[in-house]
Symmetry: C3
Subunit: 356 residues, 3 copies
């Protein structure tokens, strides 16, 4: 069991994570804990996003409680001033600012509605590693976003996501139908990527899918769900829906892309960002509201369940075992991958710390 | 002092404890932590009580949040199904249910209004060890029940119960009278049983006893209280009341049996079940209400005091001493007994764990 | 950094600390934790203040929940009775009170509105060590008092107090003006005393000083603030205000003495007593109200900031560093002094504990 990532596994720092929806970052100071670090976010007068450690190195007062002055932050306690690279450029009581006092700034990359942050080794912050997600940037797709604070490890969330069979039980009244768990599945693996494809056909759609597509009530639907674990920070479910009774050459097909973006906050909590895109009626605000309302209800079921299990774990003496069955093979492979990557990185960090 | 049981002493598992009043267990899933274990309770369609560990062994979701389907529980997360012996009999995504996945079931015994559970070695679960308590089953006795969640060790509760002198102070306005603590007492001990008999005569009864018996206000009452520690799970106070000024051959005598049944929840909390029986006016609902209301007020004083002391202990650095005086001899003997029994059992468990 | 006192530094016990404003101690039992000890305070029938450990040595019930009976306390649990020296003088169930059962009493000294307590070695409790503070006892001074519960170490409070430059930032809207931090300062040190004198001239007073003195709005004011760390339990800011444009020989001068009296409660919390004296309009109740309201707002800013920093520290893994600059030299000297004194005392305690 120790080969599997869990709530005790160190963070994977060398990865792009969603720090925030870009729309939530502006000309006020936004405090957020990411991968165990307190971070303050804002935009410069020209609109560039900035992220730095949310702590004045002098006496640890949160910079987010200071004042944004142009592109600088003035600490609210003793007035130390920091520029957008985190360098201290003024100490009020002193004629010359001491050198080498500064707080850490973090690389950011903005892609459509998402603001990605790199908390690891800055030398490795390669923006080309960010997954292209055209459905978040193209106007062919309508989108709604939401987010949750999960009081559980991001590892539990990834396992929950990849173990899609729970839809028939935990989501029995929202996303799932009884036939979902029994439908045939196909697995794919490549390094760092884990995919499950589930084809339910024929089926009747639950209202959450049936209503916005107009396919509600028909017993001849094909529902294909492709679930991709793409990185510790990203998991996407691509759903294809059509009426199998219609002529394949001209029947309408409906596509959804639900992007799940967990960003660890602490070992046992995480930010859970969601982006729900559809390639039909992209500008229909009624459909957007319906999707937003129904999906947020469904994902809340995951959040509640994972919070609860974490609470049970946290109150146990730590001797909790898990029993896995054959249908868990894909999630176990994913957790093995997270564990290996986290441990490799932790080893590298400790070697660096020891090197002269 | 280390020879005395306290909040750090391991649980005594090989004992029958009250899990619940039987009336509280039915066709819905009841979650309860007993001796550090999460337990789910329900009744089968035929009415038999069932207790099992409240955790799906797959991913630790509480079974109590699943669904009762006939005599089986279906886990609310991934739909694993368990029968009333705790055996897993269905995994939805798999054609054949894997063997040897199961959750632990616990022996239960129902006696009158009380549902007893055995959390220890199942081989030792001998129902004849349950104390016969005819006053809980015979229609000659009227009864009321109540329960509290105590945020203190069950050891503190037992010490409180056996140290009956506190009635004159902590219960000065409810059960106690100033003369209670000064009355002559007599002690009896046999293996695992500790008895204190207190005879207050003549005395005037406090309203809690005086009103329902009609003896209120008379200065010539004899009150005999026999307090018996019978097991870690059971303590009974038998009270006899009569007017000593009347002719012994035909004066009315009134008897009460107050059964105190602590069941440890965690090291520092316990369920506190109470059964208050009387052999007079058994069907008088006004007297039942009066007793229920007054006694619950009095026992709340114990609960509040013990909660408070536990809170003080928990915030101290653990270097708390206690000073005992001569009148503490019986409670010290009881705590010595609990400690010896707990340690003997713990030793046996560790030997078993080591044996091949 | 380890040479500086911080939240982990042991308490300094051999010192007079304010236990309470005398007005808050009377004929009811007042519970308060001081230097990690639970203390109960009351006055005898003749009005003398009494302080003793707030715990019955028998079963740890708080004496403060017992009953004050003349000059004795009767424990609310089993009725043990203690006199004002903390000696047990009655155990209800026993004809003779056992000897040597008692709870600790602490030396107290009342000076004007302040009740000082000595929690250390009683042999060293020399009342002449208490700082004379004539402005708390003379009728030439008008005074208001207030107190806060700080959820931070008293060390952080002392550092905050001595580092007066923060007034321009944390108190930008209350006590501070932008020119405050830039004004020339002068430092003085003598064993165990640390002084900072700041002269701001010419300046305009913030309303908190300007309004009660009638100097509001004038741009020609001289403000001299002398800040004295006098003991771990006492810090005084003496402020002198006058209009520099007036003739020195007959211009009015205004003086304030703000006494800050931190008494550690736990390692990371403290009682923060305040006494604000002025030598002008001593009996003007409008001015008293104005000062009380404005100053309590200003000091609340310190309390909020220190609470917040402590919360950040407590959630960190303990690897927090601090970066100090040249202007921190006086506070660092003060923290070095507290650390040395605490360690010297702790060493002495451990030697005593080892000695035969």
């Amino acid at each position: 069991m120790s080969a599997l990532a869990d709530r005790h596994t160190p963070f994977i720092f060398n990865e792009w994570y969603v720090a925030a929806f870009g729309a939530d970052v502006g000309r006020s100071l936004l405090a957020r804990t990411l991968l165990g670090q307190r971070v303050v976010l804002f935009r410069t007068t020209e609109g560039s996003p900035v992220a730095m450690e949310d702590r004045c190195p002098h006496r640890s007062y949160p910079l987010s409680l200071g004042r944004l002055d142009g592109d600088t932050i003035v600490c609210g306690y003793h007035g130390f001033r920091y520029d957008s690279r985190g360098d201290c450029i003024e100490v009020p009581a002193m004629p010359n600012c001491p050198r080498n006092i500064g707080t850490r700034a973090y690389p950011l990359a903005e892609r459509g509605p998402l603001l990605w942050i790199w908390m690891g080794d800055p030398a490795l912050a390669d923006e080309s590693l960010i997954e292209p997600m055209p459905w978040t940037t193209s106007s062919d797709w309508g989108a709604t976003t939401m987010s949750y604070q999960l009081r559980a490890s991001y590892v539990s969330l990834h396992e929950n996501l990849l173990d899609t069979g729970h839809a028939s039980f935990l989501h029995a009244n929202t996303i799932g139908e009884p036939d979902y768990v029994r439908a045939p599945t196909q697995q794919e693996q490549s390094p760092g990527r884990f995919t499950l494809i589930r084809t339910i056909s024929p089926t009747t759609l639950p209202p959450i899918f049936g209503r916005p597509t107009g396919l509600e009530g028909r017993p001849t639907i094909t529902r294909i769900a492709r679930s991709d674990f793409l990185s510790p920070a990203l998991y996407v479910i691509a759903t294809t829906l059509f009426d199998g009774a219609l002529n394949p050459s001209n029947r309408p097909e409906f596509h959804l892309r639900v992007s799940h973006m967990p960003t660890p906050e602490t070992q046992t909590s995480c930010h859970y960002f969601l982006h729900i895109a559809r390639d039909f009626a992209p500008d229909d605000s009624d459909i957007s509201s319906f999707i937003s309302s129904r999906f947020s209800g469904a994902f809340k079921e995951d959040v509640d369940a994972l919070n609860l299990i974490e609470e049970i774990y946290s109150r146990s003496d730590g001797d909790f075992y898990e029993m896995s069955v054959g249908s868990d093979s894909l999630t176990l492979a994913m957790r093995r991958y997270l564990k290996e990557r986290a441990e490799k990185e932790a080893l590298l960090r400790s070697q660096k710390a020891l090197s002269p």
